[in-house]
């Protein structure tokens, strides 16, 4: 059933938009002492401009690895991948994306403002411009007023927002997020999800978002990529058509539940393979 759906979805795609990430037959094998580990196998995926793509799957399915390949933090061992038409390495050199990690990864010796200006400093942008952009980025994540604080003086949710502000500060069109809210509680998570959606609606950035929460994936995405482990591969791609200015209320609608159900079915199908 999954193959048919993928075909259907591919057929439904509008062809007009520009592809930001284009992946063909991608595979990645880690050589370990215990023999090769097939982290990714035969992955085909296109992420278009303005998409919000969620990668969902059980741990070990390669969703983080796929994001890291896009970010050029891992190198694929087979297949093709291009970011904005160039290799991931060139894209990284051009600072084509902002990356948000699972943990905030704020540098403890820098104030929140100086953490946010860190990428701008590396890109040798002038001081006034840096401060101005940090102000804007902190405003987007509602952290204005905390510029002079140090990371340990903020709560976990605020730290993660600061790390998002840092990824936004240099205004890359592509935002890669690796389970950014995984360590946060449900309430904070809902709030940050809403903020992230608003941000996406306002800026028209392309977002690739790794999660293992089904409601989070369905609520946020315009496209859900369901993955399964051993070897990591895509088993379903689901397009949603919720409006960009959706609210948390859509989680009660039949459409939402239907998509969530389809994601769950896909995950279950992927799991049954290795039992």
């Amino acid at each position: 059933m999954t193959l048919k759906q993928v075909v259907n979805n591919v057929a439904e795609m509008p062809a007009s938009k520009k592809a930001v990430v284009d992946i063909k037959k991608l595979s990645l094998t880690f050589q370990t002492a215990d023999g090769p580990v097939y982290a990714l196998s035969d992955v085909d995926l296109t992420i278009e401009e303005g998409d919000f793509v969620s990668f969902i799957g059980p741990s070990g399915c390669g969703k983080t690895t796929l994001l890291r390949v896009i970010a050029d933090l891992e190198q694929a061992t087979g297949g093709e991948i291009s970011i904005n038409g160039v290799t991931p390495h060139e894209a990284r050199e051009k600072r084509a994306y902002g990356y948000v990690f699972q943990a905030p990864a704020l540098l403890p010796w820098r104030s929140i403002e100086r953490n946010v200006t860190l990428p701008l400093e590396i890109m040798e942008i002038s001081k006034e411009e840096r401060v101005k952009r940090a102000q804007e980025a902190l405003k987007l994540v509602e952290l204005n007023g905390f510029e002079k604080k140090f990371p340990w003086q903020l709560s976990g949710g605020m730290q993660q927002r600061a790390s998002i502000a840092r990824a936004l500060s240099f205004d890359a069109d592509l935002l890669l997020m690796d389970e950014p809210f995984g360590a946060l509680d449900e309430i904070v998570r809902d709030h940050l999800n809403e903020q992230l959606l608003k941000l996406w609606a306002r800026t028209n950035k392309t977002v690739a978002f790794v999660t293992h929460s089904i409601p989070e994936a369905v609520y946020l995405s315009s496209k859900i990529v369901v993955m399964s482990p051993r070897p990591g591969r895509i088993i379903d791609v689901i397009e949603t058509d919720f409006p960009k200015d959706r609210t948390l209320d859509i989680r009660e609608t039949p459409e939402f539940l239907e998509i969530a159900h389809r994601v769950r079915e896909g995950l279950r199908a992927g799991h049954s393979n290795d039992e």
């Binding site: 970010a71 050029d72 933090l73 990284r92 050199e93 051009k94 600072r95 994306y97 902002g98 990356y99 990690f101 943990a103 990864a105 540098l107 403890p108 010796w109 860190l118 990428p119 400093e121 590396i122 890109m123 140090f150 340990w152 003086q153």
Partner: protein, 385 residues
């Protein structure tokens, strides 16, 4: 009032002072066959002992609850200490101290203990008062230790060759400031500081090179380890032959001593930055030097400062010991070795005091810079809230 509610320290103080009035103050002079001194002849001491008895009994019942009471006790103790010193030197009790004298010292000890205890437990939201209390406690304790040293050495008549009293060391220190200043300049300013800067600085640079070039890590670290394991008394004469009698040979010994701790700590520190942070820098396409200065060196700072603190004391020890193997006729190690030979033990102790002061100040300065530079580190954070 029950027994448990009595202030035991004040009780000890009162009883000891009372017994001090009864027992003989001093022993018998071997030549004259008479007791050296009586409490009745020394009004100041009699008043001090009586005060101890009265205040001791009073506070035994009242308890020493407030800081004011603690201050009163300490004030009485200070007066008592002054009288004890005066009895030793002005009335010839030094060397002949008897049970009465030692009971009086016991009484003073109980008072001082209780007084310091009360002030040490003082907590105030007023920062000036709190700072003052935090300052008084170690100072009072240190002064008391010096006092005990003084009365024990003088009271028992300990030969000066074995251990001179602190007053004698202090007198020698004050009267020889020009010699001490010259020695300090030679040993500390010339040898220690230059050796320390050269040793720590070169190890820091080598650590960065070792981190950059993998084969250096395999080749240089074992070599550095071996050099640091060399005994200083074997290395020092060789350095004197290589670099001459002056401070350069001492600086060379210090370089050898300080190089390895700094190298190992910096290499470890450069690996302290986490994988996540390194990935983060990679996503910004940050180059080697940019990542070094923005991520890895700041993350290494706690390790670097550890080495700087260890080396601050090592350097001084190294310079003083190295001076035993040949120096111009100035320097702290030179002075110690020659004055020991001339039985001028007070001068040796004056140099030891100088070394202790210089070493503590040096360590304190490095620790202060560390606190300013790595205030973000979890071990210092509490102070910033």
């Amino acid at each position: 009032m029950t027994w448990t509610k009595l202030d035991k320290f004040c009780l000890v103080a009162a009883i000891a002072a009372l017994l001090a009035l009864i027992f003989p103050l001093a022993g018998v002079d071997g030549d004259t066959g008479k007791q050296v001194a009586f409490v009745g002849d020394i009004p100041g001491l009699a008043v001090a002992m009586a005060l101890c008895v009265i205040a001791g009994s009073a506070f035994t019942w009242l308890g020493v609850g407030s800081v004011t009471a603690g201050m009163v006790i300490l004030a009485i103790a200070v007066f008592g200490c002054w009288q004890a010193i005066s009895v030793l030197y002005d009335y010839g009790v030094a060397g002949y101290a008897g049970p009465g004298f030692w009971l009086f010292i016991l009484s003073l000890w109980a008072f001082v203990w209780r007084g310091i205890d009360v002030i040490a437990n003082f907590h105030s939201l007023d920062r000036t008062k709190q700072h003052l209390a935090n300052f008084v406690v170690p100072v009072a304790f240190g002064v008391w230790l010096l006092f005990v040293w003084e009365v024990v050495v003088s009271g028992f008549g300990v030969p000066q060759v074995l251990l001179p009293p602190p007053s004698m060391i202090g007198e020698r220190f004050v009267n020889s400031t020009d010699i001490l200043a010259a020695d300090f300049h030679q040993t500390f300013v010339k040898a220690v500081l230059s050796g320390y800067v050269m040793g720590c600085g070169s190890a820091f640079i080598v650590a960065i090179a070792v981190d950059r070039v993998p084969f250096l890590k395999r080749g240089l670290l074992p070599l550095g380890n071996m050099v640091s394991a060399l005994p200083i008394i074997g290395v020092a004469p060789i350095m004197v032959m290589w670099f001459g009698f002056d401070w350069q040979s001492k600086a060379a010994v210090i370089v050898i001593m300080t190089f390895f701790p700094m190298l190992v700590n910096t290499v470890t520190g450069l690996n302290a930055a986490g994988k996540l942070e390194k990935d983060l820098m990679a996503t910004y396409a940050s180059g080697y030097w940019s990542t070094l200065f923005r991520l890895r060196l700041p993350a290494a700072m706690p390790f670097v400062f550890n080495a700087l603190k260890i080396n601050s004391t090592l350097a001084l020890i190294g310079a003083i010991v190295a001076e035993f193997f040949g120096t111009p006729i100035v320097g702290m190690g030179f002075r110690i070795s020659t004055e020991v030979g001339r039985m001028n033990i007070d001068m040796v102790w004056a140099e030891i005091a100088l070394a202790a002061l210089a070493g503590t100040a040096f360590y304190g300065a490095v620790a202060y810079i560390e606190r300013k530079a790595t205030s973000w580190h979890p071990s210092f954070r509490v102070r910033r809230h």
